[in-house]
Symmetry: C2
Subunit: 409 residues, 2 copies
Amino acid sequence: MKTKLILLAVASVAASQLCMAQTNQPMMKDFKPSSLNQPGQQYPQVNSQRYARFHIVAPQAQSVRVSLGLGGRGGTALTKAEDGSWTGTTEGPMDEGFHYYHLSVDGGTFNDPGTLNFYGSTRWESGIEIPAHDQDFYALKDVPHGQVQMVLFPSKFTNTIPVRTAFVYTPPDYDKDPAKRYPVLYLQHGWGENEYAWWNQGHANLIMDNLIAENKARPFIIVMTYGMTNEGMRPGGRRPGGLGGAATTNAVAANAASNAPARGSGGFPNFNVAGFETVLVDELIPYIDANFRTLADQPHRGMAGLSMGGMETHSITLKHLDTFSHIGLLSGGVISPADVTNTPSFKEKVKVVFCSCGSRENPGNINANHEALDQIGIKNTAYVSPDTAHEFQTWRRSLHEMAPLLFQD
Amino acid sequence: MKTKLILLAVASVAASQLCMAQTNQPMMKDFKPSSLNQPGQQYPQVNSQRYARFHIVAPQAQSVRVSLGLGGRGGTALTKAEDGSWTGTTEGPMDEGFHYYHLSVDGGTFNDPGTLNFYGSTRWESGIEIPAHDQDFYALKDVPHGQVQMVLFPSKFTNTIPVRTAFVYTPPDYDKDPAKRYPVLYLQHGWGENEYAWWNQGHANLIMDNLIAENKARPFIIVMTYGMTNEGMRPGGRRPGGLGGAATTNAVAANAASNAPARGSGGFPNFNVAGFETVLVDELIPYIDANFRTLADQPHRGMAGLSMGGMETHSITLKHLDTFSHIGLLSGGVISPADVTNTPSFKEKVKVVFCSCGSRENPGNINANHEALDQIGIKNTAYVSPDTAHEFQTWRRSLHEMAPLLFQD
């Protein structure tokens, strides 16, 4: 018996080492183009073990690096072949889901010409998609699809342009019954991102289409606009009406904090939310209620945001509980017991509190706060995304968990 | 008197030489960031004399070139400074309007990290905007704005995905009166572009907003979808729902012709339009008529396209005159007298024929055909964009000229 146990233990260690070896030696045979590649581009590639492989043509270059690497720490140096191309594979598996990245070519920063660009870190960067085990919930399926509309709404906040850009998701049945009205969720991106993030990187529209098709969420409108509005006009601003159109107002917030993982409810200490509050509450909400068939009252209006957008949500909703009844903070801090105490009528006015983050962020804080709110009688939900960090797979999953809770009156 | 004339002549020659010198030596003082730059980026820059200046950081690079140059012929080599940056100015003035371009860095092709990307030549490329003397007609103004919506419409043509992407412009008053119905223009991009081109590069929405505000065009719906559908799925396809979302079907058309200037009505001899015809006539039009408040009949439905999109318009409208009554070919050939003769009931069914091109293309062909159509009693409009080539300024102006003619019943 003892011998058997020892043998089992040895076998277990051997199996463990085998797994380690497999992890360090990605299978070469199942690399395939990332789903975010530009048309016809074979690279970058990803495989079933979550490794990423890059291939860049730059015959006279001295050095080519990719900003992605093992667990996101450091980058991956590519190696030059005789034909002048550079190839390299991440040292280890990547987290599932979407990652921003860029190239360093001879000391210059460029995007990978093989893949599409996504607005993050106040610029359009390269993106790669590591296939996730749960990608079905944001897959494009043969179900009724809602629409994502670009609207230009009048804004006096930015003096130099007359309008700002928002994207509005309307659920699949929106055009069927002209008498039907819908709740609205205002959904904000993170620092350095813009109003494209939630549908372009986040697939918010497909997440909702799939939930609605499965009758798991009430159909509601989602409004996504640019939230870094405290900085005035940037140099070289461009008009709305184009990709990155909201770049008219995309100046780098000089006093905005960095895109670091959320640090509890005080993650962005220097971010001044007042500008965005004005745009959202005084300009955008009246425009949406005037131009879409909304249920234009507090019980049917919510706000959620990721990272810096969570900070904005925290600040704006607590100041405007006559406007919002649903609050979602995704990797953007928590609604704390002190927040409840300090906010008159919180318990009566707030219907949903949802806080989430990735397991590689600060799940302990999220979970502890969940219990603390429970103890003072505030019904709330905490969600921790498994094996993800401060990235979009956390936020896709968070929306998927949060949406079924919203507007269930 | 004779002396005076001679002096005048000398002065004239001197002035002429002075102008030449000015042309070759762009004023340095009024360079400013291109309107298409990414947020906060100072380069590329443009000046009032239509020169473009580029600035790239790549300290260890051996060679940096920009694909744009004098009159579009050849590129511009950048020169390295001691700080590791590379700078260069075009040898001459550029044509007004939008231009695609890319960098060559040590033999590799990259986008300029300073500017936004635009889908052309089957990839997202860098874009620069040379301010045009007539840019007011596509400027963002304080007028009522229509919306650009992304719709996912069911398509059986592409077996591997259930839906395709289209963008739909609805005019400013679309949501005001739920009983009002609108004509529809199906508006196609050129080879290597996609369904983003007309609103992103072309500002079709702003052109219409401004025309409608001035009461110069009847409000109508514009539908823009991906027209290179004869090629099946590309490797590494991605789902709709993201930028370049229609890239699901963006495979490079292996048998599509090059993006050369239009060559009369036979510009794309190898392009097989049948696939797109199926998508447009059998799938997209029924979807639009079912989901938007259209005037769903032949007198209120038109089709226009630029370059390859003009070829598609030519082929599809002449085969489907029970579906379309308005035809616009922008740098995409002409409706010839032979076309009229060979198409039963052309004269009775077609209400508008509009053909255009840039003055640097083949204006003689456009103008001669205009007269030939007049002579056989086919009312038609020809438009030649001054001092532009096979580029978007030609097509912006063409839409601006064509839109007031449409649906004037």
